[in-house]
């Protein structure tokens, strides 16, 4: 199956192409640059490089967040529209699950996260089980404090994976000590090919209803609900 995969949900921009059952090309950058400007040229370049035409694609995979609201929408607007125009299925995968994939083969809790400012993170916990990634703690937007106290009560080894590891490393070590495994820098960088791996076995959603996985209400919405509580 010919697949195009893309992720613009966080700072990494990743594009990958599978031909038949082989990943034939990948572009990954980790730069604070504009995804909107760079995504389509990256897709175009890679498609040309691997000599594939858009009409030869059979599936589109996109990271649907959590992450930057705008970044997630750039990926989804592109992926949904391409899938709709080409009349092929689109699969949205969790950006956290793609990151967790960096920790496959680890025999313990896999904890991917993205910094969400003010002590908060977007996170969820996974376990590598029989060659698939199993979600063992639901994804949400929560305080790092709460996550760490929860994890320390498990008394198990936890591998932390995050492009924002530097911000939280000290606190993680402080709470979990030797139970916390923090790999080297390259392991915190996700890859486009892993979107394809993660999507394997997942069913496509109808293109029209595929929506971002923000894990957070828009601020105005949250404030409005707070103010109108109980009416």
């Amino acid at each position: 199956m010919n697949i195009l995969a893309m992720d613009t949900s966080n700072q990494v921009l990743a594009v990958a192409i599978q031909r038949d059952n082989k990943v034939v090309g990948e572009i990954v950058t980790n730069l604070a640059k504009n995804h909107s400007v760079r995504l389509m040229p990256a897709i175009d370049r890679l498609m040309k490089e691997v000599n594939m035409k858009p009409e030869q694609l059979e599936k589109v995979i996109v990271a649907k967040g959590p992450g930057s609201y705008t970044g997630v929408r750039i990926g989804l607007a592109t992926a949904k529209t391409m899938a709709w125009a080409l009349n092929i299925p689109v699969i949205g995968v969790s950006s956290l699950e793609v990151l967790a994939y960096q920790g496959r083969f680890f025999n313990g809790v896999i904890c991917p996260f993205f910094d969400a400012r003010r002590g908060l993170v977007y996170t969820g916990c996974y376990r590598w089980d029989k060659n698939t990634m199993k979600l063992i703690r639901k994804e949400e937007n929560l305080a790092m404090d709460i996550l760490l106290s929860e994890l320390s009560s498990l008394g198990q080894q936890v591998i932390f994976l995050s492009p924002d590891i530097a911000i939280h490393q000290e606190q993680i070590k402080g709470v979990l000590g030797d139970l916390a495994i923090i790999p080297e820098e390259p392991d915190h960088l996700l890859r486009g090919a892993h979107l394809i791996a993660v999507a394997k076995g997942k069913q496509p959603e109808p293109t029209h209803t595929l929506r971002p996985n923000y894990l957070r209400l828009a601020e105005a919405e949250a404030k409005w609900l707070e103010k109108n509580k109980g009416c």
């Binding site: 909107s36 949904k80 125009a85 209803t209 409005w224």
Partner: protein
């Protein structure tokens, strides 16, 4: 460009997501609407008293492929017949624009179509060409929630901005005054209706600015309305809301009409066109129509569905850019502010 023959019909698919409408349209030869689908979010924003950019962006990404599909079904055309994809590049809410721009790029790439970035105001102007061919030089007055501009056009695709607002757009002033009068958002229609029932009893200021300027300013007027209501309350007097609305509207309409008339005379224009959501305002329409009838200069104000944001206008403006070879590349970005050129 060789494959697009001179006599071939040009069908442009336009996309507009600069604010709170997700819109897709298909227009033939820049003049004939084959499909015009607008998914309005107004109900979602009403409770916040204005457009919330993040919520607008969320709606766009959820709506975009539905709206595309509806437009293709409405036009009943095949992809082979579509000549190019036009999209609002700016100005507007950047997060909202990005959804349209990236959808347009995905479409242009997947279907091997030229991509055309369109200025939102150029779109508002070209909404008029869906009704009647332009006569140059023409003067366009664009009035909406985000814009108050006077533009001179001497030829297709050439825009000379001669005046713009220095603070609030006319529509913005309407929304703020409406809020003070407890009228729902958007404020324009409510004030327009209320004004018909009142009299101009309060002499609100007119911001003419320096001699000869075609720029606008509505923040002073807005403050004057606030102060007048506030002072009356302190003195225990009650002002009739209908009179406040009529007096406020009289000031806005007076400034817009006077400057438009002066510009039309100075530039010796053959046609005046009005565009943008505020062009639906009855008070403004009748004032402009009366003045230009006296001057014997034809004035054109499009029907409401073409005044407010839509994608037919983007496709119409895109048809000109397409013919002129002003095509964009796949690195097209959304631009929150963007000069009209």
């Amino acid at each position: 460009m060789g494959e697009y023959k001179m006599n071939k019909e040009v069908l442009i698919l336009g996309i507009e997501t600069s604010c709170d409408e997700t819109a897709v349209a298909i227009v033939k030869n820049g003049k004939e609407i084959l499909a015009n689908v607008v998914s309005s979010q107004i109900e979602s924003h009403k409770r916040f008293g204005g457009v919330v950019p993040e919520i607008a962006s969320r709606h766009h990404v959820e709506q975009i492929t539905y709206v595309l599909e509806q437009a293709m079904e409405q036009a009943a055309v095949s992809w082979d017949e579509i000549s190019a994809i036009a999209v609002t590049e700016g100005p507007g809410l950047v997060g909202a624009l990005l959804v349209g721009v990236n959808a347009a790029k995905g479409l242009a790439y997947a279907k091997h179509k030229p991509l055309i970035g369109v200025h939102h105001i150029a779109g508002h102007i070209y909404a008029n060409r869906l009704q009647q061919e332009f006569q140059f030089p023409l003067l366009a007055l664009i009035v909406s929630g985000g814009h108050t501009e006077l533009v001179i056009m001497k030829a297709h695709g050439e825009y000379e901005l001669i005046g713009e607002t220095r603070d609030d757009a006319a529509g913005e002033a309407y929304d703020k005054v409406a809020r003070m009068l407890d009228l729902p958002y958007p404020g324009g229609p409510g004030i327009d209706r209320l004004a018909e029932l009142g009299e101009e009893t309060i002499a609100f200021p007119r911001a003419w600015l320096e001699e000869g300027s075609y720029d606008f300013s509505f923040s002073g007027l807005k403050s004057s309305v606030i102060n007048t209501i506030h002072n009356a309350k302190q003195r225990g007097e009650t002002l009739k809301p209908a009179d406040i609305a009529a007096s406020f509207q009289a000031s806005v309409v007076d400034v817009l009409t006077t400057k438009t008339v002066r510009a039309a005379k100075q530039y010796n224009v053959k046609q005046v066109i009005v565009a943008g959501g505020v062009a639906a305002n009855k008070g403004l329409r009748s004032s402009l129509q009366q003045e230009f009838a006296n001057l014997e200069i034809p004035i054109q104000i499009p029907p409401l569905y073409l005044c407010t944001d839509n994608a037919a206008m983007i496709a119409a403006a895109g048809a000109i850019a397409f013919a002129q070879g002003k095509w964009s590349t796949l690195d097209l970005n959304a631009r929150a502010s963007m000069p009209l050129k």
